[in-house]
């Protein structure tokens, strides 16, 4: 079957750019409200765990490395090693989601979630901060779940010989998606956990 690898890759890039603009719009919204309620954003941001955020950043960066290594190894003919790399990336994706679940769980336990009476009693800027926090990190977590599922399917395809050194486009495109998930988190991390306006 004929496959247009260049076209497939270019199409993937166009899709990734649309994803970038989707998150870009949310970051603009964050910028607007952060400059409108600087004190309240600062107070709310201090309640997030920098340790959790930093750990998740290291976890995602490492998973991105493993996906990049998987592409290099598949292209050099080391399919088994590529599968191991992808398995490692999957494990790290689950770790990321686990840490995120712990973080969200702690916030829920303290009554800080959209619509909660505890949150609604706080100043308006803090309500906006936490609503944006849940929307952006929630949307990002959905992307992590989709990316991890795609990587698992590609690992299976490599195992079955359907993605090979001669036909690596499926892995390359899946890898691009995973790296984009990483790039988005690279911006989410300092905006929510570190920058105290």
């Amino acid at each position: 079957m004929h496959q247009d690898h260049a076209g497939s890759r270019f199409g993937m890039w166009i899709f990734l750019l649309s994803e970038l603009l989707l998150f870009g719009a949310l970051f603009l919204m964050y910028g607007f409200y952060a400059s409108r309620y600087p004190g309240e954003f600062s107070h709310a941001a201090k309640s997030l765990s920098v340790i959790h955020g930093t750990t998740n950043t290291v976890v995602l960066l490492t998973s991105s490395l493993l996906v990049a290594l998987a592409v290099i190894r598949l292209k050099s003919g080391a399919a088994r090693n590529a599968i191991w790399n992808l398995s490692g990336a999957l494990l790290l994706a689950l770790t990321f989601l686990g840490i995120k679940a712990v973080e969200w769980g702690a916030k829920f336990h303290h009554g800080i979630y959209p619509g909660a009476p505890e949150l609604l009693a706080r100043p308006k800027g803090e309500i906006v901060f936490f609503n944006l926090y849940y929307v952006i990190t929630g949307l990002h977590a959905i992307h992590v779940i989709i990316g991890a599922t795609v990587l698992a399917i590609v690992a299976l395809m490599i195992h079955r010989g359907r993605v090979t050194a001669g036909e690596p486009t499926t892995l390359e495109n899946s890898g691009l998606y995973w790296h984009l998930v990483d790039v988005i988190w690279i911006y989410v991390f300092p905006l929510f956990y570190l920058v105290v306006p």
Binding site: R9, F10, W13, I14, L17, L20, L21, G24, F27, L28, G31, F32, S35, R36, V50, T54, T57, V58, L61, T62, S64, L65, V67, A68, L69, I72, R73, K75, S76, G77, A78, E172, G175, L176, H179, L180, D182, V183, I186, Y187, F189, P190, L191, L194, V195, V196, P197
Partner: protein, 113 residues
């Protein structure tokens, strides 16, 4: 025959170097990827340490500057933008520039309205 005489090429002779080249290339790519990962971790550490310093209004610029450097490293090396058509790179930079310009316009509107 002089020892400087180049070896006579035979059909089988290039087989070994040709097979070794992709492996050597892959090894080099692997070490580059690991090097980039170490840079990314160092920049993450720098972001966390930088947040402890009171930069005032510049904090957002410092944080976004480091984040953009990290995003460029991931895009250029891990996403292999360096091997893509120039058009893809321009689109990628254009998308970032669009978000940046909109952010600047938005902040000016909020600050000076």
């Amino acid at each position: 025959m002089s020892s400087d005489t180049p070896p006579i090429a035979t059909p089988n002779a290039p087989a070994k170097p040709a097979a070794a080249k992709p492996a050597a290339n892959a090894a080099q790519q692997l070490s580059t990827a690991i090097g980039i990962w170490l840079y990314l971790l160092a920049l993450t550490g720098l972001t966390v340490l930088g947040s402890l310093v009171h930069f005032g209004h510049l904090a957002i610029v410092v944080c976004l500057g480091i984040a953009s450097t990290k995003a460029c490293l991931v895009g250029w090396h891990f996403m292999e933008l360096k091997h893509e058509e120039p058009l893809v790179g321009r689109l990628f930079v254009g998308a970032f520039a669009l978000i940046g310009i909109l952010l600047i316009i938005l902040l000016f509107d909020v600050w000076f309205r």
